[in-house]
């Protein structure tokens, strides 16, 4: 077993004795999970709790003429049967637009469809019953009279005059459009030695969290308080939304997030069925539970990545890339998802294409259109896998066109490591990246020259292996530029409150949330290091809007870089407070003291002066012995938000080594590498596992995952037997390396690492497959999922 070394790393710029920064300490909350003692929302039961099930539209687009609920109301165990029109009396609709996405539009979305269902799977009626089984039984006898309407399913024709407009009030099916132009694009293409133009297709896929979405809502009329147990990434955002749409004050709403069975961006949005459950709980004045089953998850969890992109690259004979051009078209379902909107992914694609390269000429257009399919929105690495695939596939196609090696073309075009600070042609500002150091590191890790020799040797035996790369940049630590400036009440700042308890242990309350990525471990490491206690003395509390500082939660790789910095600063502040007490007790200068390993010591010699338990005992139980006028403050709160840069960009590179069976089209992944620069590495093991998990999620997109719809808007493979996900047997070992360029925006210097794997894997796998097939004269593949079918078609065999 390769367990990362648990020793203080030389990477740490945070010079504290007994620092945990840079150490692979295990997460404090794991034993509970391996014992089967986790508490996911799907495990929560409350007194008088009832269950909700939904009648869902079988049509992609239909007018609801009538709903007959009489039989359902009489069914065993049924408490209430509620239609959209009835529920609209309790909860207001929402519109998913933000002002910084200029021109974005959407229509009001109801918790349960009123008059019209706009995608297959949209809820049209709810049943509350004593058990979920009884609620589902009753759903079977709700009679809905539908008039099927023409569905809009193909983004290519969504804007044609002949295509019906889904929301008449909007005038057309265009949600959002963005154009960008930098440099002299036409001139660059005209003067290029080679131009490669192609069309990329990215299949719609979805998150498939192992625990489906789950919510328990409890309205207590006596207290006039709503308590919601929800598997969410952003409890404070949800508190705001529940309050706003139910006509409550925010302080009347408490959102509790305990263990969450996987999120990946799926659980950071407003879902109509969850809003309906909360509204029903208020209506029925009793706790209600809704857990999506897997079939519901496939038709209601946000989908992502359904993009068609025409891409073009210009290159000179010497390998200089002189222009990128893209035209992106994406269909996002019938509504822009609330409150983050469904315009962000296409916007990110425009931002990120060409991002690693110094090429100054760039033209982009992105159009986002409505369609009668399940909604699309932000999922892990939003836009990155699309932009990285387009960029990196074009780069390797250009390299092939002029006969330059895939590594060499990157060396000639990646932003030099001494170029920072600088900006990309799309206008992204980079503080400090390390593309060349990363490229050097990965070619060493994989022994690139030897692997190329092995590839050549195998080809002589009729075995077709390929090597592919993908350099990438990654948006992390978002400032208010991401959502706040557009009017969304989504916090970009985060806070931590640190408290010394009466025996010398530390409690930390943090606004970020634990989704399994290890946020609580990272927060504990930051506080233990800044304050000066062993890790086992630190207890972290997250996911409770009544008891943690106001914060944004977990998304866009912000928990460690933003939540960690707030925790670090709070730990430092409490150390000063505690040293003031200790100085007072010891009649010593607090500045000459420090806290190390759980004790107050002389700062210069490290000699122990006083245990923290003794400081706490005196401060809490014998404050009468402290000097008159001295008040001990044993709790400190600090907040942090990035201010110097809109985002802390990270960078990295991935490489894939795989074998293609040219007779069956099957792809065998042999090895995968990733070098990531996420700045200061707080916990190397957790970073590596974020990268590995992310890579496999990206490989899933590259090879397997696809929400297949027919022309009528019916999802054809909405179950785990037909929708393929990566399982252990098909996945390779993944080697992870690091380059460290800390951000100067925070004292910790940590950036995020959650998107890197997913961002780079698809483009890199596609490059490897094309590399394997190139000697056979195959057509270059620019489509994912890259199924055996696609491979055999490229080879001209089917």
């Amino acid at each position: 077993m390769k367990i990362a070394d648990d020793v203080p790393s030389s990477l740490s710029a945070l010079d504290r004795p007994n620092s945990y920064i840079g150490r692979s300490v295990p997460r404090p909350n794991l034993a509970r999970l391996t014992e089967g003692r986790a508490q996911y929302v799907s495990d929560v039961t409350l007194p008088r709790m009832a269950h909700v099930a939904f009648v869902r539209s079988p049509y992609a687009h239909a007018r609801i003429k009538a709903i007959d609920t009489a039989a359902a109301k009489k069914a065993p165990g049924v408490i209430a049967v509620v239609t959209g029109a009835e529920l609209a009396q309790v909860i207001t609709p929402w519109v998913g637009v933000l002002t910084h996405l200029k021109g974005i539009k959407s229509a009001p979305q109801h918790a349960i469809a009123v008059e019209r269902a706009c995608w297959q799977g949209e809820a049209v009626c709810a049943v509350a019953a004593r058990t979920r089984a009884e609620a589902e039984d009753a759903c079977e006898v709700v009679a809905v009279d539908y008039e099927e309407l023409t569905p809009v399913t193909d983004p290519e024709t969504a804007l044609d005059p002949a295509t019906p407009v889904i929301h008449a009030s909007l005038g057309d099916n265009l949600t959002f459009e963005r154009k960008h132009e930098a440099g002299e694009v036409d001139k660059a293409f005209a003067e290029a030695d080679a131009v490669v133009a192609t069309t990329f297709r990215f299949g719609r896929h979805t998150g498939v969290t192992n625990e489906p979405r789950a919510i328990v809502a409890d309205w207590n009329p006596g207290e006039a308080r709503l308590t919601v147990y929800q598997g969410t990434q952003a409890p404070h955002m949800m508190q705001n939304l529940f309050a706003k749409h139910l006509g409550l004050e925010e302080h009347q709403v408490r959102v509790l997030t305990k263990d969450v069975g996987g999120s990946f961006g799926i659980k950071v949005h407003t879902y109509a069925d969850e809003m309906a459950t909360v509204a029903l709980a208020k209506l029925l004045k009793r706790p209600l539970k809704f857990v999506a089953d897997r079939i519901e998850s496939f038709v209601t969890d946000i989908h992502a990545r359904d993009h068609r992109i025409h891409g073009k690259i210009a290159v000179k004979r010497d390998g200089t890339i002189t222009a990128f051009e893209i035209d992106d078209l994406t269909g996002i379902g019938p509504y822009s998802v609330y409150p983050r909107t469904s315009g962000i992914e296409a916007n990110q694609v425009v931002n990120l294409v060409g991002g690693p390269y110094k090429c100054p000429n760039y033209r982009a257009r992105a159009r986002v259109v409505f369609q009668n399919k399940n909604v699309m929105c932000q999922y892990r690495a939003v836009g990155h896998p699309i932009a990285t695939s387009v960029t990196e596939n074009l780069v390797e196609m250009a390299a092939a066109a002029i006969g330059v090696d895939a590594v060499e073309i990157r060396r000639r075009n990646l932003f030099p490591d001494d170029a920072y600070p600088c900006a990309s042609a799309a206008g992204l500002k980079f503080e400090k990246l390390s593309h060349h150091a990363s490229l050097d590191k990965i070619t060493t890790m994989m022994d690139y020259a030897a692997l190329r020799a092995e590839q050549a040797r195998l080809r002589t035996q009729g075995i077709y292996c390929g090597i592919g790369f993908a350099s990438f940049i990654e948006v992390t630590n978002p400032s208010a530029a991401f959502y706040g400036v557009g009017g969304a009440r989504i916090s970009s700042q985060d806070g931590a409150t640190v408290r010394l308890d009466a025996t010398g242990a530390i409690f930390v309350a943090s606004g970020v949330t634990e989704q399994g990525q290890g946020a609580e471990a990272v927060i504990a490491q930051c506080v233990a290091s800044a304050f000066g206690v062993p890790l086992d003395k630190v207890r972290v509390i997250t996911g409770d809007t009544d008891n943690v500082p106001y914060g944004g939660g977990t998304w866009a790789s912000r928990a460690a870089g933003i939540g960690g910095e707030a925790a670090w600063q709070a730990g430092k502040a409490l150390r000063q407070n505690v040293l003031a007490v200790a100085g007072s007790i010891l009649q010593a200068d607090a500045k000459a003291l420090d806290i190390r390993n759980g004790a107050v010591v002389d700062a210069d010699t490290g000699r122990e002066r006083l245990g923290l338990d003794e400081v706490a005992r005196i401060a809490y139980f014998r404050p009468d012995t402290l000097p008159p006028g001295f008040q001990a403050e044993l709790m400190a709160t600090r907040h942090y938000v990035p201010r110097a840069w809109p985002f802390a960009f990270t960078n990295g590179i991935q490489a894939s080594w795989l074998e293609v069976d040219i007779d069956t089209g099957f792809i065998r992944l042999l090895k995968h590498w990733c070098v990531e620069d996420c700045g200061t590495v707080i916990n190397p093991q957790l970073v590596d596992e974020q990268v590995r998990g992310g890579v496999v999620q990206g490989i899933g997109a590259a090879l397997f995952e696809h929400c297949v719809y027919d022309a009528r808007g019916q999802l054809l493979n909405g179950n785990m037997a037909d929708y393929l996900v990566p399982m252990a047997g098909e996945m390779p070992d993944i080697e992870v390396g690091h380059v460290v360029s800390p951000t100067a925006d925070s004292e910790l210097g940590a950036k995020g690492a959650g998107e890197a794997g997913t961002a780079g894997a698809p483009g890199c796998v596609v490059n490897a497959v094309n590399d394997a097939l190139r000697p056979l004269g195959a057509k270059t593949i620019t489509e994912i999922p890259l199924t055996p079918d696609v491979v055999l078609s490229a080879l001209g065999r089917i």
């Binding site: 077993m1 390769k2 367990i3 295990p26 997460r27 794991l30 034993a31 999970l33 391996t34 014992e35 089967g36 003692r37 986790a38 508490q39 996911y40 799907s42 495990d43 089984a133 998150g207 498939v208 969290t209 192992n210 625990e211 489906p212 263990d259 969450v260 069975g261 996987g262 999120s263 990946f264 857990v291 089953d293 897997r294 989704q515 399994g516 990525q517 290890g518 093991q685 957790l686 596992e689 590995r692 998990g693 992310g694 890579v695 496999v696 999620q697 179950n719 785990m720 037997a721 996900v725 990566p726 399982m727 252990a728 047997g729 098909e730 996945m731 070992d733 993944i734 794997g757």
Partner: protein, 162 residues
């Protein structure tokens, strides 16, 4: 067999259980909802994801594809029982040390499935470990760390047997 409800008697984690169950009740729902053993999880309810894996008379089964009435007279063990007994203490420790779990939702099923492989003895190859775990879906880890942990336990147990 037209009766909808059936009396069943079985042992769950060594404790005798007598319950009257709906014929359509799955084993995993019976464990979670009737016995409050929430360590077994419901991921897909159609036998693909493996989150509901439990031991039925010593063999791993899908709790979502097994009906509670089928377990009359049987011996059922769940993650709670196996963790309490210490039977997988080394495997749990390896998963924790290697961070072979993130959200933890797949972990009970993954541990029981891995234990079934390790019970054969020997040190399986990484490919064999991957193949054996191929019925258990993990969205978080990418599997590499899980394979590492299982491999380490196989080596450790083989070493102790010498």
């Amino acid at each position: 067999m037209t009766e909808r409800f059936h009396d069943i008697a079985l042992t769950v984690n060594g404790e005798p259980v007598h319950e009257r169950v709906d014929a359509r009740r799955t084993l995993v729902d019976f464990l979670r909802e009737d016995l409050a053993l929430t360590g077994s999880h419901v991921g897909c309810e159609h036998g693909v994801c493996g989150a509901c894996t439990v031991l039925l008379d010593g063999a791993i089964v899908r709790g979502c594809l097994t009906l509670a009435v089928q377990c009359d007279g049987a011996r059922v063990e769940t993650i709670e029982g196996v963790a309490d007994s210490g039977a997988i203490a080394d495997l749990r420790a390896a998963f924790e040390a290697r961070n072979a779990l993130q959200c933890g939702f797949c972990t009970p099923g993954m541990l029981l499935t891995a234990q079934a492989l390790l019970a054969h003895g020997g040190v399986p190859s990484r490919e064999e470990i991957r193949a054996h775990l191929s019925g258990n879906y993990c969205r978080c880890t990418g599997y590499h760390a899980i394979v590492d942990a299982v491999e380490a336990v196989a080596r450790g147990r083989a070493g102790r047997r010498k």
